[in-house]
């Protein structure tokens, strides 16, 4: 079997959507933070907490909706703690992010071990998954139907979120405030926009999106919580919004690039390539992508300068 036989299949196309979803949610969250002027590395932790609480919520309520809501609320609360420290107590952004991620990584295992006596996975908990849905009409289109239809509800929600975030950032008064606070906080303050309040709101959105990404991990991508299951996706999301230059569409496209890299890394394992190199793909892609983007930007700047 060669590489193309694997890539040009509807299964592969389907898989890209499946693996892009968590990155897309968190990348949109990271993007909103960034537009408000906050380099948010706490998304890794938000995702983990969301994933665990999705499992807990759905186990104890036996309701999918309550499960997802629990995930979102838990992630939101963590994001508010982050906001309180960063905005009110003037903590260092990166340090607070690292502290939260470490606390989330250990804290989720702590909670897991207390709730089900296992430090690895939550399979002994009877948690639920968000169902997959077939889209009428589209599902009957050959090829495209097989790729686009039949996904997890949250996958469609993530695509919807791209539109919502686009409208929020580019078309709403709140988006204008968020952007102005990110671009020039002093100028924003001078025209009466509260920088702290606006950033709080931006971090609330980030918390919600991080929670949705986490919920998808444990209630869609797989049906359990596993320790450190975010596996760097929060950091990858940060890279994706960076590559997408902080625009919703750019973030959406670059999330897909990471999704493709991620999908490749799980499908190419049937080939005789060393598994480690395939697992490296998403991370190498990130760096190569950032270099290409930077080169392009430099090239454009030079061109503009030449015209002057």
């Amino acid at each position: 079997m060669n590489v193309f036989d694997i890539i040009f299949t509807t299964d592969f196309g389907y898989m890209i959507f499946r693996v892009t979803t968590p990155i897309l949610f968190t990348a949109l969250g990271a993007m909103i933070s960034r537009r408000a002027g906050i380099m948010n590395i706490s998304l890794e932790g938000l995702m983990l907490v969301g994933a665990l609480f999705g499992v807990i919520g759905s186990t104890y309520s036996q309701s999918v909706i309550v499960g997802v809501l629990t995930a979102v609320v838990a992630s939101l609360l963590l994001s508010l703690i982050f906001a309180y420290f960063v905005l009110k107590l003037k903590s260092d952004l990166i340090l607070t992010g690292i502290a939260l991620n470490l606390a989330a990584s250990g804290g989720t295992v702590f909670l897991l071990s207390i709730l089900c006596g296992d430090k690895g996975v939550s399979t002994s908990m009877n948690s639920l998954v968000v169902p997959n849905i077939e889209i009428p009409l589209i599902k009957d289109i050959p090829v495209l139907g097989e790729i686009i239809s039949g996904h997890n509800v949250l996958t469609y929600v993530s695509l919807l979120c791209v539109v919502i975030v686009y409208l929020l950032i580019n078309k709403s008064p709140m988006g204008l405030r968020i952007r102005s606070v990110g671009e020039n906080p002093d100028a924003a303050e001078s025209v009466g926009i509260s920088v702290i309040k606006t950033r709080f709101i931006a971090l609330i959105f980030t918390g919600i999106l991080g929670g949705l990404g986490g919920a998808y991990m444990s209630m869609g991508y797989v049906s359990w919580f596993a320790r450190d299951m975010a596996a760097g996706r929060g950091y990858m999301a940060l890279a994706a919004q960076n590559l997408g230059n902080g625009t919703p569409i750019g973030t959406f496209l670059s999330s897909f690039i990471f999704g493709i890299a991620d999908a490749l890394s799980s499908t190419l394992q049937v080939l005789s390539l060393p598994a480690e190199f395939i697992q490296m793909i998403p991370y190498v892609t990130t760096i190569v992508g950032l270099i290409l983007y930077a080169m392009n930007r430099k090239h454009k700047a030079n061109k503009l300068r030449a015209r002057l």
Binding site: L95, A99, L290
Partner: protein, 358 residues
């Protein structure tokens, strides 16, 4: 008391209050979770001092953290946040191991070669985000996090294909030559010669950062890089060299750790030492002199958590919650800022009164 003195005391006070708050949270958590809270709390706080072996554990655990946190002190003093120490530490351990079993040498020289090679590879790893920053202005936080993952997979590949000893019975490299290992220096514990190297690294970092022109330039760049450029410092050179020195220390730490504590290379993933370094450097306010205290403290609560995870029903992961709380409070500028402000105002008023009465 001068204002500067008050600021220093307040910094220490803030750290102590942060520790106390985190301990209060720990006690609360233990009471909630444990069926034998009294004993568990005792074991957590006093357990690490019960036996010589456990006290030894504290010091063993602090050794790698000393290396990485000194590395962070130097790297972060430029204001450049390279998160790659974790990768440097891992790859340093792997490269040091390669020399430790791949070559024959005399016992005094062999570990030195391992440490230098581990350090060099660590320095090269740490240089990548710096070069990306200098050449293309790529955010070093993102790139260094990605490099940590790449380095881990590369290490796993090298271990599986070139270093594996099939007779070991588990995923580990060929056993090190006896000449390469760092000897144990205190019997009854596993404290090894690496402790002395680590102390030397702390002293070096202090002198380098606080007493040399090079270190001054590094710190000046961190305070205000425009001023550094304006006054004619070669900022790119300072940035690159500081990151490489930090990477060297972290890589050397990795090599020291494997040669002192293991007989074969067996890390499946990067140990936590890299991120521990970031925390310890933060608690120590990036001052190498304070690093040993902060590192010992971190090791102490880890050993405490280890003890209770074996003697009670509380999982050892409780420690990461304690760490998180401490780091967040220590990092918070406004935490206890009113008290600081009041003390400084009081001191200044006293000074003023003294001046006027003259």
């Amino acid at each position: 008391m001068s204002v500067k003195r008050i600021e220093k005391i307040m910094d220490i006070a803030k750290t102590l209050v942060a520790v106390l708050i985190s301990f209060a949270i720990t006690i609360l958590l233990i009471c909630l979770v444990s069926s034998t809270p009294g004993e568990t709390i005792r074991d957590f706080f006093l357990g690490p001092f019960d036996t010589v072996r456990r006290m030894g554990n504290i010091i063993e655990m602090a050794i790698p953290i000393l290396f990485t946190s000194c590395a962070i002190c130097i790297m972060y003093s430029t204001g450049h946040i390279n998160m790659g120490t974790s990768g440097c530490f891992y790859i340093g351990g792997l490269s040091g191991s390669a020399i430790a079993f791949g070559f024959q040498s005399i016992s005094g020289l062999h570990p030195v070669l391992c440490l230098i090679f581990g350090g060099l590879i660590g320095a090269l790893t740490a240089a990548i985000p710096a070069v990306l920053r200098i050449k293309w202005d790529i955010n070093e936080i993102v790139s260094s996090l990605m490099i940590n993952y790449i380095v881990q997979y590369l290490g796993a590949y090298l271990l599986r294909n070139f270093m594996l000893d099939p007779t070991a019975g588990f995923n580990a490299s060929i056993a090190y030559e006896e000449t390469a290992k760092l000897p144990t220096i205190i019997s009854g514990t596993r404290i090894h010669f690496g402790l002395i190297i680590a102390i030397a690294v702390v002293v070096f970092s202090y002198v380098f950062l606080k007493k040399t022109k090079w270190g001054y330039q590094i710190r000046m760049m961190g305070y205000n890089d425009r001023f550094a450029v304006y006054s004619g410092m070669g900022v790119t050179g300072i940035l690159l060299s500081s990151q490489m020195i930090g990477g060297f220390l972290a890589g050397m730490g990795g090599a020291t750790e494997v040669l002192g504590m293991y007989n074969r290379f067996e890390w499946a993933a990067a140990p936590t030492a890299g991120f521990d370094g970031i925390m310890v450097a933060a608690i120590a306010h990036r001052n190498p002199v304070m690093v040993p205290i902060a590192a010992l403290f971190l090791a102490y609560i880890r050993v405490g958590a280890d003890v209770i995870s074996r003697t009670s029903d509380v999982p050892a992961e409780i420690v990461s919650i304690i760490q998180g709380v401490i780091i967040m409070l220590v990092g918070a500028q406004m935490f206890l800022s009113k008290l600081r402000h009041r003390e400084i105002v009081k001191a200044s008023a006293r000074e003023l009164a003294k001046e006027e009465s003259k």
